[in-house]
Amino acid sequence: MLLDDLACRSHWRGVSPAEKLLWSGAFLLASLLSRHSDVVWMLFAGLSLWNLTVLGHPPVLYLRLLAIPALFLLPSGLVLTVAWGETAELHDILWQQQVHGSWGVAITRETLDTAVLLVGKSLLGFTALLFLTLSTPVVEMTSFLSRHGLPGLVTELIVLTYRMIGLFAATASAIQTAQSARSGWVSWRTAFRSSSLLVFNLFTLSIHHTHRLSRALDARCYQGTLRVLHRIPPCHTVRMICMTLICVCMLGWVCSKEWGHSHLAHSHEMEAYHD
């Protein structure tokens, strides 16, 4: 809901979802194609700067959103930096600690590069999706997808789930406030009891909501399909062309870097073989 609220206030709300999908998709593709951490981190920094300047959201909030995946990625990255095995067989060791005989743990240039690359790729992918999420409200995205061949049943499920999340968030917040007002969350014990009651009440209320919603739909001649008007912001041709060019250039640059590195590595291998 927070993301959707931000999307509704975004400076890019009026931009066509097609343009935003292109932009987001190009960066996602770049994160998949690129195998060099310098490229990945450069793209991540560029896209983050773009998101901060173009979308108009508070930087602190944006950083908080980025912190969520970072919280999972950084420990995983740390684990990836450490190699375990016979230290004599490891190359480019930056740090090592013998544990038993010749066996030990070490940080090598290769493990460090792998960790930095994987964390960077994940963050770049997340940032690309964040751009889309923070600039396109669910209602516009479902309209766009519906117009472009997504089955009606899937769109209806998305819309109803989205509406229900809003209802449940409001209901859960009201129940929690009512419980807090009667000291329901003052200790672990009461908090546990209150949360179980909250979940139970939400379950009961969800059944009531479903019943009422079904009745309300019937009152307006519901016939099995939730057909509604779809308004999608129009595509701006010049901007679309510019964005396409930028995306193509960016992907071309990523591919050339990739090809250049592979070619260089192959040449080194060949030289070593001849020597």
């Binding site: 819309v159 109803l160 509604v228």
Partner: protein, 247 residues
């Protein structure tokens, strides 16, 4: 001869495991008039309203719409619901869609109208009900008054003959109530019949032509609002009298 748009004849209804909600109701809603259905909580007002839209079916007796007994087949219900608009007390459950405009367009699409006609009807309903300013807003971002307006717009877009509204002033502040009454007045001026369940006697006194007082599942009295609300004994008997409000 009185032209009754909606007629209830000897209507009985009980919810499963509960006491009777309606027991032998005989009453009519006159075409072109504004009728208040008054009564305390649990007196059967909502059940009566739901029957008017065919959402509930009498266990005994019959409901008549526009001179014909209600047909509960799929096509019959479609006919009735296309002409009888229903505004629920809990607007939260009435608004299902992600944005106001989408929600308003839902009813007209169900009537089989083409997209152009739906867009026109939606546009008109949004402007008539003052929803233009928040038409693209997600429904969960609306205030109570805005939700009520959006719910009314969703019904108005279907061009009904009669609007049944269940406690429409509930959860609204005085300004919200005034706005809603202004909106209803505009719609009534356009020829719309209204039947509104309420226990807000100030609203009833100021706006309605006729009143029906309900108690324990049956009507106690009906007639012009001024006469009904002047009868203190009747109001006391129906549980509508408050020594604090002076009603």
């Amino acid at each position: 001869m009185i032209d009754e748009l909606l007629r209830y004849e000897e209507v009985h209804y009980s919810y499963s495991g509960g006491s009777p909600a309606l027991s032998g109701v005989n009453l009519g809603i006159t075409r072109g008039r504004r009728t208040a259905i008054l009564g305390r909580n649990g007196c059967g007002k909502t059940t009566l309203m739901l029957m008017g839209n065919g959402l509930l079916r009498p266990q005994r007796g019959s409901v008549w719409f526009d001179g014909k007994p209600m047909d509960y087949s799929k096509d019959g219900l479609m006919q009735v619901r296309s002409r009888v608009g229903f505004i629920f007390q809990e607007t939260e459950s009435q608004l299902f869609s992600a944005s106001v405009e989408q929600d308003v367009s839902f009813g007209p699409f169900n009537l089989g109208w083409d997209e152009h006609r739906v867009a026109e009807a939606t546009e008109l309903a949004l402007s008539q009900t003052g929803c233009d300013a928040f038409r693209h807003k997600p429904t969960h971002h609306l205030s109570g008054g805005q939700k009520k307006r959006a719910a009314v717009a969703g019904v108005v877009a279907m061009h009904p003959t009669i609007i049944l509204a269940d406690e429409p002033t509930a959860h609204l502040d005085p300004q919200g109530v005034d706005d809603l009454i202004d909106l209803f007045t505009t719609l009534h001026a356009g020829g719309m019949t209204f039947a509104v369940a309420t226990h807000n006697l100030v609203f009833a006194r100021s706006w309605f032509d006729d009143a029906i007082v309900m108690s324990e599942g049956r009507p106690l009295a009906s007639g012009p609002t001024s006469e009904i609300l002047a009868d203190t004994n009747l109001l006391k008997k129906a549980g509508l009298y408050s020594k604090y409000s002076g009603e």
